[in-house]
């Protein structure tokens, strides 16, 4: 049900402050040599946290109807299907043949 947003101005500012802080952290984290895997995990985790904050507070998902939440989850689930299965193909290609997953051709444009 779309009730008027009952989120206060202070909450907005708090969320905003958190977003800015996370932005700073993620930029700083880039300059620390973690090794590529961990670097990716950190950057993406921060992005997900930021996104969650925006969705929950700025977009009022917190306190919105169950149906709206279902729409959000459905969108994310479908994206996960698309990415997950496509990547699964590429990652399982070497299993049987030992092939590296991709390569490029000799033709010139």
């Amino acid at each position: 049900m779309s009730t008027p947003p009952h989120i206060t101005k202070t909450t907005y500012f708090k969320v905003f402050a958190a977003l800015m802080a996370l932005l700073v952290i993620t930029v700083i984290a880039t300059f620390i040599p973690w090794g590529s895997r961990i670097g990716i995990v950190i950057a993406m985790t921060i992005a997900i946290v930021k996104a969650t904050l925006v969705v929950l507070y700025f977009m009022h998902i917190k306190g919105s109807s169950g149906l709206t939440k279902v729409f959000v989850v459905a969108g994310l689930a479908w994206l996960a299907i698309l990415m997950g299965i496509t990547l699964a193909d590429y990652h399982t290609r070497p299993w049987l043949s030992g092939n590296p997953p991709m390569t490029i051709g000799p033709q010139e444009r």
């Binding site: 969108g75 699964a88 490029i104």
Partner: protein, 545 residues
């Protein structure tokens, strides 16, 4: 839904048709019924355009060396046939015409949730269609409806970008229709119309709308990337720049496989309405049919790789896709068995819509079961990209969806126009279509297994007999499709007045005059029971001879 708490005045006072006559009143209408008619006209046009392409294809294939048209022309013909039939006819066919017209009425609503968006979607559709037709007449396009890279992105020197843009644009009309349906179904049901009381037509459209909403944007952006690749010489799918052509196939089929269920789900929805009405029975297994629609919509997003078994996709990926493809067959099986069971102990009459339904069930079963051949990995290696595939999908799309579409037109024609058509001619045409259809496409299973590849302008002479049979069938089919065009048009002026409910059907759309008034009902209906309560309704026509 017989138990409506009021007794509507059924005399047509101001129907949606005679409320205004100007061209402007049609082109600027926000009435879902008028928009449905606009779609109907456009789509019929596209069907015949696609049909003319098919006719030339079939004529060309009468001889092994294919001497009617050149190979380039042939390639353009099947591409345009595929593009027009899929994107401009079959995907919008049932949802945008019949769905648009009856879905709000079935819900007891005055209109869709976003009427302006609805009109917009028609204009978008027309823009997309026009662009593609311009592409067709100014040089054509020869990539196949699948637009595989790198042929489409680098090698073809035909109107790929224009066609791609046409398809891209049309995608948005489909998205808007789906969005409109979903929101309408969620928010605009009549009082008392709970989810478990929804007609199965609505469930089917709901499921199809999910696919439109979540699948179409992916093909849109993919097509955009191909267009960008052509215009700016980017390398997104071009191996020369490290791109992967098979990635295009992933993205394309992520939509285009579910898209085949955008076509079939509304068709299945239609079957439920007709089969109950002409056997005067409640539907067998309501819950299972409703749930199987949702199951199909969901699983359909997990099987796209079954079009790519020999594309150098991972063998394990292939196995997952094959496995899931078999799963998606189960909900379809559930539906077929439930429809058959609905006939049990019914009171069956053989009116035209019902004949189409029988045709649908039979041909869909055969088409669907041959889908299992293709989902079986080892066998698909042989039949992939042969006429076996062509036969499979025509069985489902022409034998299934087009049959259901024809059935739907005949079923709701009295509601849409207020007139009856001539029953005996209609039955004759239905039988002709059925026979012509089988003669056209059954031989293609055989010639496909013999190894005739699809998209072949010329073929080895030993395949000729089967191809000639196919062409012969296609000519019967063509006549079968032209006849309804004639008698339906004729009925607009000379048909018997239908009255509000000629079939004595239970759906809410029948509880109002034909043709319905602009806001559908003079009084908002209230629903008090489940759908298809035919035992409470009187039986029209009495015993059949």
């Amino acid at each position: 839904m017989t138990s409506i708490s009021y007794n509507p005045a059924l005399e047509p006072r101001d129907s949606y048709i005679n409320i205004a006559y100007t061209v402007k009143s049609w082109l600027l209408t926000k009435d879902h019924k008028r928009i449905g008619i606009l779609y109907l006209i456009a789509i019929t046009g596209f069907f015949f355009i696609g049909g003319v392409f098919a006719t030339i294809i079939r004529l060309d294939l009468m001889t092994p060396q294919g001497d009617l048209v050149s190979d380039d022309t042939y390639n353009k013909l099947f591409t345009l046939h595929g593009v027009v039939m899929v994107f401009f006819f079959l995907i919008p066919s049932i949802p945008a015409t019949i769905g648009n017209f009856v879905l709000p009425m079935m819900l007891g609503a005055r209109d869709l949730a976003f009427p302006r968006l609805n009109l917009l979607s028609w204009y978008i559709f027309m823009v997309g269609g026009t662009l593609s037709l311009i592409a067709a007449v100014t040089g054509g396009v020869d990539t196949g409806w699948t637009f595989y890279t790198p042929y489409s992105s680098v090698f073809s020197n035909t109107r790929v970008v224009l066609t791609a843009v046409g398809v891209f644009v049309t995608g948005f009309s489909s998205i808007l229709t789906g969005l409109n349906f979903i929101i309408t179904i969620h928010t605009m049901r009549a009082p008392g119309l709970t989810w478990r009381r929804l007609p199965l037509f609505i469930w089917a459209h709901y499921a199809a709308s999910i696919i439109m909403l979540l699948g179409t944007p992916v093909v849109a952006v993919t097509i955009l990337m191909v267009a960008a690749e052509r215009i700016f010489k980017l390398g997104v799918f071009n191996p020369a720049l490290g791109g992967d052509p098979v990635l295009f196939q992933h993205l394309f089929w992520f939509y285009s496989h579910p898209a085949v269920y955008i076509m079939i789900l509304p068709a299945m929805g239609v079957i439920n309405e007709i089969v109950t009405c002409f056997s005067r029975k409640n539907i067998f297994g309501y819950t299972f049919i409703a749930a199987s629609s949702l199951a199909i919509a969901f699983i359909s997003f997990l099987v796209w790789g079954h079009h790519m078994f020999v594309s150098t996709q991972s063998v394990y990926g292939g196995m997952i896709f094959s496995f899931l493809s078999f799963l998606v067959a189960v909900p379809s099986a559930i539906k077929v068995f439930n429809w058959t069971a609905t006939l049990y102990k019914g009171s069956i009459s053989f009116h035209t819509p019902m004949l189409y339904v029988f045709g649908f069930i039979g041909l869909f079963t055969l088409g669907g079961l041959t889908g299992l051949f293709l989902a079986a990995l080892g066998l698909d290696v042989h039949v992939h990209d042969t006429y076996f595939i062509v036969a499979h999908f025509h069985y489902i799309m022409v034998g299934g969806v087009v049959m259901a579409y024809m059935g739907a037109i005949h079923f709701w024609w009295p509601k849409i126009t207020g007139r009856m058509y001539t029953e005996w001619i209609a039955r004759l045409a239905a039988v002709m279509i059925f026979l012509g259809f089988n003669l056209t496409f059954f031989p293609q299973f055989i010639v496909g297994y013999l190894g005739m590849p699809r998209r072949y302008h010329a073929y080895p002479p030993e395949f000729q007999v089967l191809n000639v049979m196919s062409t012969a069938g296609a000519s019967i089919l063509a006549v079968g499709y032209v006849i309804p065009l004639i008698y339906l048009t004729w009925s607009l002026w000379h048909g018997k007045i239908a009255g509000p409910n000629p079939w004595k059907a239970t759906g809410l759309e029948w509880q109002t005059p034909s043709p319905p008034p602009t806001e559908n009902f003079y009084e908002t209906p209230v629903v008090t029971g489940p759908p298809y309560q035919y035992h409470l309704e009187e039986v029209p026509f009495g015993p059949s001879k």
